[in-house]
């Protein structure tokens, strides 16, 4: 039996979903809405007109499932992947395991608490519906196989909810999600004005400023700057956590960082258990010293 995987064009998470699909054994078939490129044995391209409509995507998946009778359907653990597969699960009245990190037979391991906790669970008999936890799998590589086109039959209700307008981001600067360096502040920064020393260092490094949930709840920074389970998930080369205690809510957002430097006045802070590098002391003294040192090094 084959495994069907939902492909979104140019989506790293979709390639990771292909890796989970391959681990289940059997041929891997893909479904994309419109053209895409993916290392699957056969890519079924659904001809669906117009903008994103979750119900239409789910209808296409369900119709292909009926034709191919796969053992599992895997989607990327993205907003759309989780959404479309939840629609499919509701339509087929089947359980859905979201953000799976591993599957063995009928058993899955999946993420809870944004990955701070794992759940081992059993999916019942029949078709398995899974989304692949982001960054739990390598991206699949290889050549694309054959492509087949099909036109799903859509009811009016399938397209009742659809994107009617897409608005570009108006903010300038480097986006938090894509920055190579994130300088992030927590309660220890003390005030909105206190972020000036973080801004200065981030500016020098061509990075972005982030913050913890405490900071956005206090109104010191906008929610768009929040790194965490319910904020942005970041994966920079270096994450500088300043005055951040290290709650699971925050770690869920920054555990994708390659290296973590923690600056904190409390040597017992939990953040140090997640850090590669530690500086103990007052961030309001340390950050200006780092900025000055960087300037000095560049002038030399």
């Amino acid at each position: 039996m084959s495994v069907l995987v939902l492909i979104e064009p140019d989506d790293e998470l979709a390639l990771q979903a292909v890796t989970l699909a391959r681990s289940l054994g059997g041929p891997v078939q893909g479904i994309s809405i419109g053209p895409a490129d993916a290392p699957v044995d056969v890519l079924h391209v659904a001809q669906v007109d117009g903008s994103y409509a979750p119900g239409a995507w789910a209808a296409a998946v369900v119709q292909l499932v009926e034709r191919l009778a796969p053992s599992a359907v895997v989607a990327p653990g993205s907003d759309r992947g989780n959404e479309v597969l939840a629609h499919v699960a509701a339509r087929l009245d089947l359980p859905l395991a979201a953000n799976v990190t591993e599957m063995r037979g009928d058993e899955v391991t999946r993420q809870r608490w944004g990955g701070s906790l794992l759940e081992e669970a059993r999916l019942g008999e029949g078709l398995k519906l899974l989304t692949a936890a982001p960054h739990a799998f390598e991206a699949a590589a290889g050549r694309a196989g054959a492509t087949e086109s099909f036109a799903p039959a859509l009811a009016e209700a399938d397209t009742a909810v659809r994107v009617v307008e897409s608005v570009g981001a108006s903010t300038g600067g480097i986006s938090l999600a894509e920055a190579k360096v994130v300088v992030s502040g927590g309660r220890g920064v003390g005030s909105a004005e206190g972020f000036a020393v973080l801004e200065e260092l981030a500016g020098l490094l061509g990075g972005a400023v982030g913050c913890s949930r405490v900071v956005t709840s206090a109104g010191w920074r906008p929610h768009a700057d929040q790194v965490g389970q319910t904020g942005t998930k970041v994966s920079p080369e270096l994450y500088v956590a300043c005055g951040i205690s290290g709650a699971t809510q925050h770690i869920a957002g920054c555990k994708g960082a390659k290296k973590l430097l923690a600056i904190n006045g409390d040597p017992e802070a939990t953040i140090f258990a997640h850090a590669d590098y530690a500086v103990i002391g007052d961030l309001h003294e340390i950050l200006p010293a780092i900025s000055a040192e960087l300037r000095k090094a560049r002038a030399a």
Binding site: P54, D79, N82, E83, H87, A89, A90, P95, L96, A97, A98, E107, T109, R112, W113, S116, L117, E119, E120, R122, L123, T131, A160, V161, R162, V163, V164, E165, S166, V167, G168, S170, V181, G207, T216, G219, H223, Q226, T230, G231, E237, L238, A247, T248, Q249, K259, L261, A262, F272, A275, D276, Y277, A278, V279, I280, G281, I286, E293, L294, A297
Partner: protein, 249 residues
């Protein structure tokens, strides 16, 4: 406007998750509780809509007897009354959705039903969508912007490149994300008023789970010992050296 908001009691985990001896739950003896951050914004949004347009906000939860605390917190923010489906057990997403659908049908009609995009603890990403299918209502998920007027909702999602906008007629279901608004801190008088607002509680029995939890596991840590670069501003040269080595300086 009649608006229903579904919320879930979850522990405030702090820095480290500790499990019960049987590995079936988080050890919560020393923890406080709250609702998911997404849901806090859902309650705030519903209250703002009703403050502006009139109507009623009902909060609905499935959880243990202690979850009344969370219903009271929502009522302190401005919800008018609570519905409490009482069960000590953990329900899977399908069973949760079915129980909520039954409770919603008994109180219908609502113009708007609000969920968090996903719960903080289980993170199943599906209960709101299952409820929408059962009730035959349109659903838009993951919202960071919502305008309700003239029987319609204009809903915005944040995307990597900007915002996607949806428009649906009411009644509809939405799931929201933190950042939709900045929830208020309830005042002391509001908390006292919340204690006098009505909560309808009803015991419910859990059907068998179709996604059957076997055990919880705390993932192995990174197993690293942080390299201490120094104390205070004297550490700056060592930090810059590390930044240069990582190629970011």
């Amino acid at each position: 406007m009649r608006i229903l908001v579904a919320v879930k009691r979850v522990p405030i985990t702090g820095g480290r998750i500790v499990l019960t001896d049987d590995g079936q739950a988080i050890q919560t003896r020393h923890l406080g509780f709250t609702i998911s951050p997404h849901e806090e914004c859902g309650v705030e949004e519903a209250v703002r809509i009703v403050e502006a347009q009139g109507g009623e906000v009902v909060v609905l939860t499935l959880g243990p007897a202690e979850a009344e605390e969370q219903l009271r917190e929502c009522m302190a923010i401005g919800a008018d009354r609570g519905i409490h489906l009482v069960s000590d057990e953990e329900w899977d997403a399908q069973a949760t959705a079915a129980a909520l659908v039954e409770a919603i049908r008994a109180e219908a009609p609502f113009d708007l039903i609000v969920f968090g995009n996903e719960s903080a603890d289980a993170g199943n990403y599906q209960v709101g969508i299952r409820v929408a299918y059962a009730l035959g209502l349109p659903i838009v998920t993951g919202l960071k912007g919502l305008v309700v007027s003239d029987g319609r909702a204009r809903a915005e999602q944040e995307t990597a490149s900007g915002r996607d906008v949806y428009e649906v007629g009411l009644p509809a279901i939405v799931t929201v994300k933190e950042g939709l608004n900045l929830p208020r801190y309830p005042s002391v008088p509001a908390k006292l008023r919340a204690n006098r607002k009505p909560v309808a509680a009803q015991a419910v029995g859990r059907p068998p789970s179709r996604l059957q939890k076997l055990r919880l596991v705390v993932p192995a840590g990174r197993g690293k010992q942080a390299e201490i670069l120094g104390r205070g501003p004297e550490a700056a040269p060592a930090v810059v050296e590390i930044m240069r080595r990582l190629g970011v300086a």
